[in-house]
């Protein structure tokens, strides 16, 4: 069996390798939680071992973002669950199986591939001590213990197929409190709560040695994991992924997740080992990118996002400020609008941009651009309208035209404030750009988003420290720029004010 697989894989690799070389890379996406990353990496490496070039766009913030990325063609596939597809994407209550699901997805230009072979459904978890003490084995057993404290993830509490339905189906008398899923297990161990929701393949179940209660009323819908792909996905890629069908059961998925969260191995590592055991020749160097390379790549993307956004905001912000500063009413309206944009939380703005600009770097740049406008426009307008009226009068009286006055007098006088505005925009953008990883824009937010998903401080710091360092470097660069462009006596006045 194994030899056969090897032979097929090798043949496929030879066959597709030559052809796939000229093709556009296949975009593999993932949502930002451990299993999503692991499955994405397994799919990516499988495709690579068949000679495809793969672009990894991991860490989308939730179903909506990943789905939009798929529809927009930013990615070609990602791992999704049957229950999520029917409930969150198709928004229907009926559980759809094979043909019905395919029929529902077809109008969207999407289709599911063969399931991986495990069901990652919701489950109810307790500590072994509690399970033993109260003799808990099934969810129905909870009914007899109304004093138990339920600490549930926010999403589970909100979903119709989560807590509200569960409470009804099992007639549970308990009240529940909401908390971050990442903190729930810790809370269980520290005896802050007694019961929490879990995913049946969660690697943390192994780490914390938790017991899952049997869903004896068969309440939870199936969450069969499967690749969700665009219909225009290369048929040979589809064939390559077919080798993964039915290849992972629940225990194995739990073990793979645990390798990441418990043993702190990289997704690429875990995926490579899994595929290696199944006889795929995995291209080692491609599977494991080195820390420095990843860091450099992230820094470059981060700088690209912020510099394009801030540059555009500088050009347009200056143009707008110059166009309106002579009219106090229009200036006020412009500043008000820019200020309003500033109050939209960054994550919300990014989400709002998805239907318009899709996901990836474009909406991220648009969002950073919008945030950068206010400090630049405000500082420029303020600087221009606060120029000493006597200096203005003299500039006019000397016989300078409007354009000459701007160039030779007003803009140089406003320059320290304008530079300060650009500097604020740049530094804030570097910070905000880390959030852009939630919509697949990459950059230094990527390790942060992944680290948050894994509760891995080291990984978070891999993004946070370079981002902070970058902000400091930008500060220093602007300081040097100011010293170079602005006469020192105007600079000190600026520093004092």
């Amino acid at each position: 069996m194994r030899l056969e697989l090897l032979a097929v894989a090798a043949a496929l690799a030879c066959f597709s390798g030559g052809l796939a070389a000229q093709q556009a890379p296949i975009g593999v996406g993932s949502k930002n939680f451990t299993e999503g990353y692991v499955l994405a990496e397994i799919m990516a490496q499988t495709l690579e071992s068949h000679g495809f070039e793969v672009e990894r766009e991991f860490g989308f913030a939730g179903t909506l973002v990943a789905f939009e990325a798929l529809r927009a063609g930013e990615i070609d596939l990602y791992a999704e669950y049957s229950g999520t597809i029917t409930q969150a994407i198709l928004q229907t209550d009926t559980e759809l199986d094979g043909p019905a699901l395919a029929a529902a997805l077809a109008p969207l230009g999407l289709e599911t591939l063969e399931p991986f072979g495990f069901d990652n459904t919701y489950a109810i978890a307790v500590t072994p001590t509690l399970a033993r003490g109260l003799d808990l084995a099934r969810i129905s057993d909870l009914r007899a213990h109304p004093a138990l404290r339920f600490g549930l993830s926010h999403e589970f509490r909100d979903r119709a197929d989560g807590w509200p339905g569960l409470k009804l189906a099992y007639s549970l008398p308990h009240e529940s409190s909401g908390l971050e899923h990442g903190l729930a297990y810790q809370a269980l161990l520290e005896d802050e709560i007694d019961v929490t929701d879990a995913y049946s393949t969660d690697g943390d179940l192994i780490r914390y040695d938790l017991r899952l209660l049997e869903d004896d009323l068969d309440y939870f819908p199936a969450y069969l994991a499967m690749p969700l792909a665009r219909q225009d996905l290369d048929p040979r890629a589809r064939a390559a992924l077919a080798s993964l069908a039915g290849s992972i059961d629940e225990a194995q998925m739990r073990a793979l997740n645990a390798e990441v969260v418990v043993n702190r191995r990289t997704f690429a590592d875990v995926a490579a080992q899994f595929l290696g055991e199944r006889g795929f020749a995995v291209d080692e160097p491609r599977a494991r990118s080195r820390l420095q390379e990843r860091l450099l790549a992230n820094v470059i993307v981060h700088l690209k996002l912020t510099s394009i956004a801030v540059l555009a905001a500088t050009l347009i912000g200056l143009a707008v400020a110059l166009a309106v500063y002579r009219s106090p009413t229009v200036s006020k309206a412009v500043l008000y609008t820019a200020g309003l944009l500033q109050t939209v939380p960054s994550i919300a703005l990014l989400a709002l941009l998805i239907p318009i600009a899709g996901v990836g770097q474009v909406p991220a740049i648009i969002a950073l651009f919008l945030y950068s406008l206010l400090p630049i426009v405000r500082n420029t307008i303020t600087a221009l309208i606060t120029i000493d009226p006597l200096l203005r009068r003299v500039a006019v009286a000397l016989g300078l035209t409007q354009a000459q006055r701007l160039r030779a007098v007003y803009l140089p006088l406003a320059l320290p404030h304008v530079l300060a505005g650009i500097r604020i925009a740049a530094v804030v953008s570097i910070g905000t750009a880390t959030l852009a990883a939630f919509i697949g824009a990459g950059g230094l937010g990527e390790p942060i988003v992944t680290g948050l998903a894994l509760n891995d401080t080291g990984l978070i710091l891999q993004g946070a420290i370079p981002a902070a360092a970058l902000a400091i470097v930008v500060e220093l660069v602007f300081e040097a720029l100011e010293r170079w462009l602005v006469p020192p006596h105007l600079l000190t006045r600026q520093a004092v004010s």
Binding site: L390, A395, V396, A397, L398, T401, P412, L413
Partner: protein, 244 residues
């Protein structure tokens, strides 16, 4: 004797207040004319009407023998020097760049700018080394003189001085007066000097325009006005000058 500036029945109001009400006066070319009067008599407004900074609601303003144009005023303004109280030198430019701002715009080459700057600075007794300094590095008196150099840079046919010496002490003021006189001896031009200091007016000017409530109270050669004050107001004003 050509009349280079002529105002006919000029009126200007700010809100409810008439600043100039039917002002008619003409100015002789190539002499210093001082405009005197109490605060609010319309002195500074008069000056700014001449270079078009302020537009009157009614009346006729003739400069260089032509009605003041409505468009492309900058061409006319480059023929009119303007220096104000507290110098208003641009803080981001060196003294020479302050002086030569319009010359640069007009495309003068560096040598020509340098030569003209040195010439003016010598006449106004400013050391050549000061040219590269920023305004704040100069004393008050030096800044005043640099302001006059800027106003005179393009050899204007009219020089408007809006109380340019009000901020400096009497001793420095006397020195600046002497320097200005020396400069005007070499480069004669029509000077309109607004001042609230009648003593300064009598010392520097050949002609006087005395304003009161936006009208001309009396005008003419200093000697004529001194010999025959037209009213008690003029008499009182001149008395201040003698007392000072």
């Amino acid at each position: 004797m050509a009349e280079i500036i002529e105002l006919q029945d000029v009126g200007k109001r700010y809100g409810e207040t008439d600043v100039l009400s039917g002002l008619s006066v003409s100015v002789r070319a190539d002499v210093v004319t001082a405009i005197v009067g109490a605060s609010g008599s319309g002195k500074s407004t008069f000056l700014q009407i001449v270079n078009g900074l302020i537009r009157p609601e009614r009346g006729r303003v003739v400069v260089f023998g032509e009605p003041l144009p409505k468009q492309n005023l900058f061409e006319t303004r480059r023929r009119i020097g303007y220096a104000v109280q507290s110098t208003a030198l641009f803080p981001h430019l060196s003294i020479v760049r302050n002086m030569s701002l319009v010359a640069q715009v007009e495309g003068w080459d560096r040598e020509r700018i340098r030569a003209r700057a040195l010439e003016l600075m010598a006449l106004m007794d400013l050391e050549p080394g000061l040219g590269e300094r920023y305004p704040h590095e100069l004393s008050g008196g030096q800044q005043q003189r640099a302001g006059i150099c800027r106003a005179m840079f393009l050899k204007p046919e009219i020089l408007l001085l809006d109380e340019p010496f009000s901020g400096v002490d009497t001793l420095t003021k006397g020195e600046i007066h002497r320097r200005l006189a020396a400069l005007l001896a070499v480069e004669p031009t029509t000077v309109l000097l607004v001042t609230h200091d009648i003593g300064e007016a009598l010392m520097v000017a050949a002609d006087l325009i005395i304003l009161r409530g936006g009208r001309v109270e009396q005008c003419g050669a200093v000697t004529d006005v001194l010999a025959a004050p037209a009213s008690r107001y003029v008499e009182a004003l001149l008395g201040q000058g003698h007392a000072a």
